[in-house]
């Protein structure tokens, strides 16, 4: 199901890139894959071994695709967890616009702030072959403590 979906997506992207003549967008549009909510989202989380609750945050939504998205909510607030397969165990490369920090003793992570709305920020770190990103209207402290749980 997932493989077929991504295959279909790949073909779509190829065609669109051939037509438009530019590189395909890395984040697939939301309407291509229906969002999963409730128990369907929890099922996906179990498959990928992502916790259903995290420090009081509850998993509420799942979006498949190249960058799998899980939405966690607590009251009116929410944050997204994006998982991207990287095919390597190499660490993340420091880049401009990112602030490097340490998670625990040796895992390095990078913080990012949305230039359009500074209260939105993200943290990116490597979990084995996966690049994990936590994003939302969260403080730096919250981001770091959540990242430590998911690392």
């Amino acid at each position: 199901m997932n493989a077929r979906c991504s295959g279909f997506l790949g073909i779509l992207l190829l065609i669109s890139s051939a037509v438009v003549g530019c590189s395909p967008p890395r984040v697939p549009p939301l309407n291509n894959l229906p969002a999963k909510t409730g128990s369907a989202a929890l099922q996906e989380a179990r498959k990928i071994e992502v916790p259903e609750t995290l420090e009081g945050w509850k998993l509420v939504r799942h979006n498949g695709g190249e960058h799998t998205q899980f939405l966690y909510a607590k009251g009116k607030r929410s944050f997204s967890l994006f998982l991207s397969e990287t095919k390597s165990l190499q660490p993340l490369k420091a880049q401009e616009g990112w602030k490097a920090i340490l998670l625990g003793t040796e895992t390095s992570a990078f913080l990012h702030k949305d230039s359009r709305s500074p209260n939105r920020s993200a943290i990116v770190f490597k979990h084995q072959m996966q690049r994990r990103m936590i994003m939302g209207k969260l403080s730096e402290l919250e981001l770091v403590s959540l990242a430590k749980q998911l690392q």
């Binding site: 909510t37 939504r61 939405l71 997204s80 660490p91 993340l92 490369k93 990103m133």
Partner: protein, 109 residues
């Protein structure tokens, strides 16, 4: 025959005495021989057969070290972080999902 004539001339011809006499000449010759083939060397096991692969092994070693130094250089490339444009897309996707979830909650309650 002409060949026999030459042979006869050569055998009958006198040749000069070696300098220092026959014994000294023999000693000189043996000295040269000993210099090139020292008697303490063991000729049963040829050392040359070992020396030749040593060069090849050394060459292979140098090549291996060079490969080791060059090869991981390409693999050591770290994973790039998402670009700014990608991050904007991520922020947008998060916001859309957040709004979709809030709307669903409103309808539910």
């Amino acid at each position: 025959m002409k060949d026999d004539d030459i042979r006869a001339i050569l055998t009958e011809a006198s040749f000069p005495e070696p300098i220092g006499g026959a014994v000294a000449a023999r000693e000189r010759l043996m000295g040269t021989l000993r210099h090139h083939y020292p008697p303490e060397k063991n000729y049963a096991v040829s050392r040359r057969s070992l020396r030749r692969p040593l060069g090849a092994i050394a060459l292979a070693g140098v090549m291996a070290v060079a490969l080791l130094l060059v090869w991981p250089e390409q693999k050591a490339e770290a994973d790039p972080l998402p670009s700014e444009a990608q991050m904007q897309q991520f922020y947008d996707q998060h916001e859309t999902t957040h709004v979709a979830h809030s709307l669903e909650n409103l309808q539910g309650s």
